[in-house]
Symmetry: C2
């Protein structure tokens, strides 16, 4: 029987469930700057391109085969595939595909990939309801604000403990976005957040397996259903997020309550969203960027005796796989990342293919990379030195990688990234039309204008 072991509890937390619900339910449409709206379009576009790009991956095939066992109604579109499934299945599957190549967006303050759970749930619901692009964008901004604010509140303790924060906060963001699209009032929205709070999804142990991209998909599916249940009167605790045995205190010892509501409605977390130029975890990006710069300075792989890498300990903790044996493992290997950057001058999905990760020259160069932990170097930076066979040393220090807030990808680069992923799956013409549709999202009277294009 139970013993009452002492668990410290904060009984005086502010009513953030209610506050966030009121915000989501009542904040005016487009109640933010043009810059915020522009970032929402970029977030949606990047998400859509990633979802199309991985649509034929075996992880999506496997999950779709499972969903098809449920004989789903053809309610919603799968990006990059002709099959249609019910809203919950589409939220799951688009969430999986959008994160499969680790090529999606990143809220750098928390390492949350917010579009995966939020856009996947919101698009499926908006499509089924025939909502406008404007309403979808509003839901995206507000849903991402909820997910990332809850992330700010718990980060880094929650993440360090082992939660994959994208999925654990993603259920809340997805529920918030769907509540907005369903036009729930503040009370119902609080219930949606409450039902979602009981369903955090994601353990970091799953990194390197298909269950990592499952996390945003599972969160999208759970959040969508939570909102639908709230719409029909299902109840939850109105203090589900902040109570002593509620979401934040159960999942994190750090609970900075002010993060939920500081500058609420003034500062939007989607403003801090970034997009990856490289198809792997964000912590390797500075090292890849530095390796590409070495290449641009004329360093050739065959000249290299060794590459000395100095990085923050987190880089090796997350991506320290020395001998990756397939593409998925390659994404968790800063060694492979450096080799790919130097050999190919890029690190898109193709550079993480199984055959590339196993290619003898790539393996040989990878084996020449030595990594040293130096916690004086920020996680956003990398210090790379190529030692050449003639004794020369070529040094590059990257403070902020391309794709960071300080060095954002341009709209053109984002479109090119989309096309590069999408064209092999749905063809050039549909890709261009879908990019154009995403760019015009705010003007679309019905988001279903994107459905046919997205399916390819």
């Amino acid at each position: 029987m139970a013993r009452n072991t002492a668990v410290p509890a904060d009984h005086n937390a502010p009513p953030i469930t209610r506050q966030l619900a009121e915000f989501v339910a009542s904040h005016p449409s487009q109640g933010w700057s043009d810059e915020v709206d522009r970032e929402a379009v970029r977030t949606f576009l990047n998400w859509a391109g990633c979802a199309v790009g991985a649509a034929r991956h075996e992880a999506v095939d496997a999950a779709l085969a499972a969903v098809q066992m449920l004989e789903p109604a053809p309610q919603a579109t799968l990006f990059g595939r002709p099959e249609r499934v019910d809203m919950a299945g589409a939220a799951l599957l688009n969430g999986i595909s959008s994160h499969t190549f680790d090529f999606d967006d990143t809220h750098l303050k928390t390492i949350i990939h917010p579009a995966g759970p939020v856009a996947s749930a919101a698009f499926a619901l908006a499509e089924h309801l025939g909502r406008s692009g404007r309403e979808l964008l509003d839901a995206l901004v507000l849903g991402i604000d909820v997910a990332c604010r809850m992330g700010n509140l718990m980060y880094p303790e929650h993440y360090d403990r082992g939660w994959h924060i994208t999925g654990s906060t993603g259920t809340l963001g997805a529920a918030a976005a769907c509540a907005r699209l369903l036009r729930l009032d503040a009370g119902q929205t609080a219930m949606a957040l409450g039902i979602a709070a009981s369903q955090p999804v994601g353990l970091r142990e799953q990194f390197g397996t298909m269950t990592k991209p499952f996390h945003p998909g599972g969160a999208a599916r759970a959040g969508l259903l939570a909102a639908l249940m709230a719409q029909h009167g299902f109840t939850a605790s109105p203090r589900a997020l902040e109570a002593p045995r509620g979401y934040a205190q159960v999942l994190s010892t750090k609970c900075a309550w002010n993060e939920a509501t500081d500058e609420l409605g003034q500062r939007f977390e989607i403003s801090f969203n970034t997009y990856k130029p490289f198809a792997c975890g964000i912590v390797i990006h500075p090292s890849i960027d530095a390796s590409i710069q070495l290449r641009e300075q004329g360093v050739l792989p065959e000249q290299v005796e060794r590459i000395e890498l100095r990085v923050h300990s987190l880089v090796l903790e997350l991506t320290g796989k020395k001998t990756p044996t397939d593409g998925l493992q390659g994404k968790f290997s800063v060694y492979h990342g450096c080799a790919a950057g130097l050999i190919f001058g890029r690190a898109a999905e193709a550079e993480f293919a199984d055959e590339i990760v196993r290619r003898p020259d790539v393996v040989a160069l990878r084996d020449k990379v030595t990594a040293m932990v130096d916690d004086r170097i920020d996680e956003a930076s990398a210090d790379v030195t190529a030692v050449l066979s003639d004794g020369r040393r070529v040094h590059v220090f990257v403070e902020h990688a391309i794709g960071s807030l300080q060095r954002p990808m341009s709209d053109e680069a984002l479109d090119a990234k989309f096309f590069q992923q999408s064209a092999p799956v749905i063809g050039d013409a549909a890709s261009r039309a879908l990019i154009d549709g995403c760019r015009r999202l705010a003007m679309l009277a019905d988001v279903r204008e994107l459905s046919r294009l997205a399916a390819g």
Copy 2:
């Protein structure tokens, strides 16, 4: 960016994901004593009766309305309702109804209600696949073993921290049972457990709301989908349960690894399952039992000046609501429980109806109950004294309540409990036939023989 806060981690945990998967995949059918098999039938029967009994509750109505937004295929039966939904929806909804009245089974070592997640997922899948009653019973025994062993491993720290352990371990039990029904091999079963590990469901803050019974339902739905995904090749970490950033270490500081495998295949946790005679949380049962015994000793409500209750602190922590205003809150009020026991001599669902909780004589008697914490008294016990207006004191001490392992409900009492819940929903004849069908479960060539009866 991330700071590496120190989180203690056990890097030497035994490979319990693999061990449990091998056990689930390869343990022989009915590879246990007749007593274990008998308890499995009792567990199934009690679950079915509870699910039918609450089938018309507004929580089930609300969740069903949400599920119907997905236009589900009519694959599986809802106990006590004519509607049919897909397997995932049926797992969710039967899981909700089976726990709505807090009248289901309890594994007392962990306060897990194992049938809710495990039987709800397993029946939906077995029905769709047309499996035999024997296979369903095997899946139930093995799934419950996985859920409760994982509970033993983490209890009480995991529960004290705020997890509703029924849902958090229930996803694993549901996944295990479904993997068995799908006849997955050990490797696939490990993947099913791994996918499920990323989806713990349930916060204790939700107690007193519809989201409490959502927990076993959500766990059933998540576990079922995890098994279907594993069947189609979806991957997860093969160390998802035991790794430093896996399930147990993320969700609990107590990780008694030996609990996963001690006497595995010899001792079955379903042997320790119990069934509630009263429609509320188990910790109030000794107090209700004592109040009923006061009534049997001739104490009349109108004679009572006050009732002095001495209980373990957990009783008040969980069920200390002094002034419940509806039936659901009444279930978390030991004060109401005592009043109901003394006035009615029972505490089934009817005694937790809104109008009973608000009835003036019930409220008046409830207000005469004073509760004192005495941690020398076990949580399984209660010490109750009625002080009468003539000065007499009538004392009852209940060491183990009726329904406990020490004083189990008889088969006849379980059948009567089933009938009492079921008859108002599906009628007398169908109830009797369904009880008979559950009792013959091991002999059924196809569990669908129960479907028509269960729908009513």
